[in-house]
Amino acid sequence: MTIEVKNIVKKFGSFAALDNVDLKVGKGELLALLGPSGSGKTTLLRIIAGLDWPDAGEVRIDGEDALGHGASERHVGFVFQHYALFRHMTVFENVAFGLRVQPRAVRKDEATIRARVKELLDLVQLDWLANRYPSQLSGGQRQRIALARALAIEPRILLLDEPFGALDAKVRKELRQWLRSLHNEIHVTSIFVTHDQEEALEVANRVVVMDKGRIEQIGSPGEVYDNPATAFVHGFIGESIVLPVEVTGGSVHLGGRPLNIAAEGAASGASKLFVRRHDMQIGPAGTGSLEGAVRHVRSFGPIQRAEIALTDGEGKTVIEIDAPRDRELQAGEIIGLQPRRYRIFAAQE
């Protein structure tokens, strides 16, 4: 099933939670809405589900106008951050709920419902918990039950609101991979909301980066990471070093001193230079376009993370870089730095 969102506007008072958002989701996609809190991603998800209503715009599910229908008529599976399992029902009854509340005319008989619930509990590998109550489950188990419950109604699309947000790091990682493989198995068009870039990049086919009620970029995980469209995306995804620079006629200046890098078509004026932490090449003092004193080094795994006070400009800028451990850095050492890959964006007011 496809989802189409056109010119959605949603205001809470004078605050625009969504500001003219357009989005198309193809059949069988697993899409991530990624952004900081307050970026409007959850609001967008709730509007698609019918739990919130936009002030203007259109939502089409499979070409059909969705705004004319309430949430209960949209056949949309929704998974909540805090699971929202029915606390007074067993796991079995939770999963069966969507089947039991169907209108009498289409409701399945008890045996069919039982078989279907059993099938779903097998799918989420928790059939042995059928008679427990939600309070007796771990967070990861609860979220899998919530997913089984949402799938029971054979939803046209599946929406997940920060599905792993309330779980601890290890369970979150496991569930991520599990969701990925589950999606490969059932292929229902899915959107999940997250503020965790790693989660979005690892799980989704496509990532939609949002900020302040607007979509900043839509692309594959590789695209948004390697080819960020805006300064916000570059800063939000992956760890970046940001330096305030001045672009004048094709050359780049930091604190009045020209840097030995090309402006690559950036417009003249106050700008920001973005470099990934691991894209800063280190060399002996005097080489490279920047120079700085190593203040502090921490080594873990294959990299060393160094805090470096730049000697350029006012000398107050401190950056963090990730360098391979082939050449161990020492605190106090002066080194040269050269951005291997970088992007320049106009500084926003």
């Binding site: 589900a49 019918g50 739990l51 309430g70 949430a71 209960s72 008529e73 949209r74 056949h75 949309v76 599976g77 929704f78 909540f80 805090h82 699971y83 929202a84 399992l85 029915f86 606390r87 007074h88 709920f97 969507g98 509340v101 169907q102 939600p134 309070s135 771990s138 967070g139 609860r142 919530a146 419950r149 949402a150 029971a152 109604i153 309330a166 779980l167 601890d168």
Partner: protein
């Protein structure tokens, strides 16, 4: 108002039905009981010297004895002072039977109406945001902050012969004041906050997520209410109903103003207790009072049981573990 002043002078002698009205309004919070448990566990950390501990406990106990246990004993002792047969004879007087019947009827009417109103009000306040919400919450508490006598007087001003609608009612031969409708109205007014008050914090804590989940699974509004919302609040609701009922049966002030004290017709149990007492029929008076005292005791026991259930209902079930 003479009945009121005479009542006040006898208030200490007739504690039974007032005690039912002194119950806590909202269920004690989990934290409060948690603190109590914590205090018990860490007793040895902050233990007082023996004598001081003894004095404090003795003080508390004697206070409790003088103000709660003794009056309760007096009620039952006086009721049975002329023997068991006199007690039951007093209770089977037509006047007593009529008062019991009226009290039960009024309680049934006011509790069932307040059940519906209370659930609706709590639902509206806890699950929706709308302008004027704070005013509504304040208004719900109004009956608690107004003297019951005033609550009764309001209905006299509205429906009395000199009241706003008095003439119209008289012309159409509708009896509200000094009849069942007036007593029921006054009782409903006085007991309105109980159900709503015991539900609002519970429903606010539970939030709207389960309802949203139910709706997204295709449930209708009614299905959501009866399958999700109601089961989640059932113990809190029973708690509110219990307190509402205790107050409805024990209410004196408001009912006294609107009742008219017509013997065998508009006297509720608390009113009859006072009338009989003023007529020196002590056994009969205390026999009725003992029924109200028993209601209070039963209410206390059920309340304790419900509080345990409520504890379970309030326990947040959606934290990650």
């Amino acid at each position: 108002m003479s009945t009121q002043t005479s009542f006040v002078t006898q208030a200490t002698a007739l504690p039974a039905y007032t005690s039912t009205t002194d119950l806590a309004i909202s269920p004690p919070t989990r934290e409060a009981r948690g603190r109590a448990r914590l205090a018990a566990a860490s007793k040895d950390l902050r233990s007082e010297p023996g004598p001081i501990r003894f004095i404090i406990i003795a003080l508390a106990l004697s206070f409790l004895t003088i103000f709660v246990v003794l009056p309760l004993v007096v009620v039952f002792a006086s009721a049975f002072s002329k023997g068991v047969s006199a007690y039951f004879a007093a209770l089977s007087e037509p006047e007593a039977l009529s008062a019991i019947k009226l009290t039960l009827l009024v309680a049934a009417i006011s509790v069932s109406l307040n059940l519906v109103f209370g659930v609706i009000a709590a639902w509206a306040i806890a699950k929706f945001d709308f302008p004027g919400k704070t005013i509504l919450i304040t208004l719900i508490d109004l009956p608690f902050s107004v003297s019951p006598v005033i609550s009764g007087l309001v209905f006299v001003l509205l429906f009395g012969a000199q009241g706003y609608w008095g003439a119209w009612l008289q012309a159409h031969n509708i009896h509200i004041l000094f009849a069942l409708p007036g007593i029921a109205l006054a009782t409903i007014f006085v007991t309105f906050p109980f159900v709503a008050r015991s539900l609002i914090p519970l429903m606010q804590e539970q939030g709207t997520q389960e309802e949203e989940a139910a709706i997204s699974l295709g449930a209708s509004g009614l299905q959501t209410f009866f399958r999700v919302t109601l089961p989640n609040i059932k113990w809190g609701l029973l708690y509110g109903v219990l307190l509402c009922n205790a107050r409805a049966m024990g209410e004196f002030g408001a009912v006294s103003v609107v009742s008219g004290h017509i013997r065998g017709e508009t006297n509720t149990m608390p009113l009859l207790v006072e009338i009989l007492y003023n007529e020196y029929q002590f056994v009969a008076s205390f026999a009725i009072a003992s029924l109200l005292a028993m209601l209070a005791l039963i209410t206390l026991v059920v309340k304790t049981i419900l509080e345990q259930r409520l504890d379970e209902e309030q326990t947040p079930k959606d934290d990650s573990r």
